[in-house]
Amino acid sequence: MNDEYAGDSSQWAFGTGFEDPLAGVDTTVPPGVDPAELAAYCLMLGDDALIMSQRLSEWCSRAPDLEEDIALANMALDLLGQARLLLTRAAAADPGVVPVLPEGSPVPAEDALAFFRDAEQFRNVRLAEVENGDFAHVVVRLLLFSVARLAVLERLRTSPDQVLAAVAAKGVKEVAYHRDWAGRWFLTLAQGTEESRRRLEAALDALWPYQAELVAPRPGFGVDPATVRDEVDAVLDQVFAVSGVERPDRAPLPGTGGEGAHTGALAALLAEMQVVARAHPSGRW
């Protein structure tokens, strides 16, 4: 078909230069690392990315303008890519975490984990799962999420697990852009119109109780999110200061998604996400 195109368009290097983030990476679990702990840690990071991606992708065809529609889809795709690598890593480290499917089912491990676990088995933060609201809501959600995730991923680049380190190195570049996108929109909405400021403050107020969970202590293998709390606070305070927005004074929600505490929104999200896969447990896609 290519010969039929008119003109010289060779300046567009379409579809080249895609890199396998795991090329040449040692996939054995390093000595001294408990495979079950490594798997649990990857599930937590992977579920955060998967559920957040699912919510972001709901924006597709609904954004304020075409350019932002494309931007939101890019971020959803970045997080989906992270989720796939992390769920696959969790399954490889500890096959015991993967739900058992009918004999002979061709469903790969990443999909068994995504589509055949129930809500209480997911380890994501509740900030990722709550229902979408207006555009201010997605801006605030992404800001809170990406500030914390970036801080964790930056430290994970030196993880003893080579796979996790490689996933983190790739993720840092992506999430840095998400944080920038959210930060700039936060400022824009804060200083745009009266309406945009009102909506931004409402979204911040609604989502703030979910923020503490992002930096709650999680002992065991991996970077403990509690160790990045000061950095996260400093970044958020800077965004609030530049935007002229007060840091909300609302109590954090008790419990964490990492321990299986979820809102009703997760079960509803999964009911939709899993419906086709579960109807065809031996299906090929």
Partner: protein, 314 residues
């Protein structure tokens, strides 16, 4: 620099000569009003189709049955937003803004492709849309890379390059499903049954009943007639259907040795006319979705403008 006035006849002659040389018309060139109007109508309708076309497949992103398929589908629907954007930009080179075109779409004064008024009822539809609907679109679009209006042709080159994966992912999904369970194979056949005739209608009414076609061809805006492209699509698709193991739902479909083409049945042109009139299964839903997105985003667009103005004033 001094310029001498140019006679209208000379401008028209220069325009016709450019067309005759198969050279491109560029935005700042003189062009007949009717050429400009035809172009804007065709490019806008194409752009609207890309944007409305995000919805039928977009409805399945949340339910994609594997993470790989989810990524493919999201990237594909995102591409459609990009394609709409490129085409709106091409319209803007003729001085019509995207806001005006959006308004024309939302008030029903401009149309989009009738195919997007059909519902998507199973995940197989994602594959069928890629294979048949994008396949038909590619037949229409590849010749447009050589259309006479430069910005339109350049947008189409970019779109065709990006779309090369759209049809393949659809066909690959169907192939994979056909190797799956009986239920999946039934799903594929049922989906093909629903989309075959609407896909044939995507090429528009028969040539005998296509009022604007002749002039568009003379101007090099269109390169092939509706019926030529429809025939090409059928000939291309029949062996693909055989390889897939599905039946195309047309009892009259058979190879005609004499013509060197497949004969096929007549699409229901009354149905096409009804869908274009707005009586298709999903017309109202598609427009409501687009309108809601546009209206819900108004405060965001205003906020960004206000912010930029204030920042610029500082």
């Amino acid at each position: 620099m001094t310029t001498t006035p140019v006679e209208p006849e000379a401008l028209e002659a220069a325009f016709e000569a450019t067309i005759a040389r198969h050279d491109r018309i560029e935005p700042r060139d003189w062009m007949p009003d009717a050429y400009r109007r035809t172009l804007v109508r065709q490019m806008a309708q194409h752009a609207h189709s890309e944007i409305i076309g995000m919805q039928p497949e977009g409805a399945w992103i949340g339910r994609a049955p594997s993470l790989r398929r989810k990524a493919i589908l999201l990237a594909k629907v995102q591409d459609e937003a990009g394609h709409g954007l490129y085409l709106y930009s091409a319209c803007e080179t003729l001085g019509v803004s995207r806001a005006e075109l959006t308004d024309l779409l939302l008030t029903g004064r401009q149309k989009y492709s009738s195919i997007f008024n059909y519902p998507t009822l199973s995940y197989a539809d994602v594959g069928t849309i890629g294979w048949l609907v994008d396949g038909a679109a590619i037949c229409n679009q590849v010749p447009l890379c050589r259309t006479s209006y430069g910005p339109y042709g350049r947008a189409m080159i970019r779109i065709c390059k990006e779309e090369s994966f759209h049809q393949r992912q659809g066909y690959e999904l169907l192939m994979t499903m056909m190797r799956g369970t009986d239920a999946q194979r039934e799903m594929v056949q049922e989906s093909v049954n629903r989309f075959w005739w609407p896909a044939l209608m995507m090429f528009g009414p028969p040539d005998t009943d296509s009022p604007n076609s002749a002039r568009s061809m003379a101007w090099g805006i269109k390169r092939n007639s509706n019926d030529e492209l429809r025939q090409k699509f059928v000939d291309m698709t029949v062996p693909q259907a055989e390889a897939l193991g599905v039946t195309l739902p047309d009892p009259d479909l058979r190879w005609n040795e004499e013509r060197g083409h497949h004969d096929f049945g007549e699409p229901d042109w009354d149905e096409l006319a009804a869908v274009i009139r707005g009586e298709g299964p999903c017309n109202a839903q598609r427009m409501a979705h687009r309108r809601a997105a546009h209206e819900d985003g108004a405060w965001v667009r205003e906020a960004a403008s206000a912010f930029a103005e204030r920042a610029g004033a500082r």
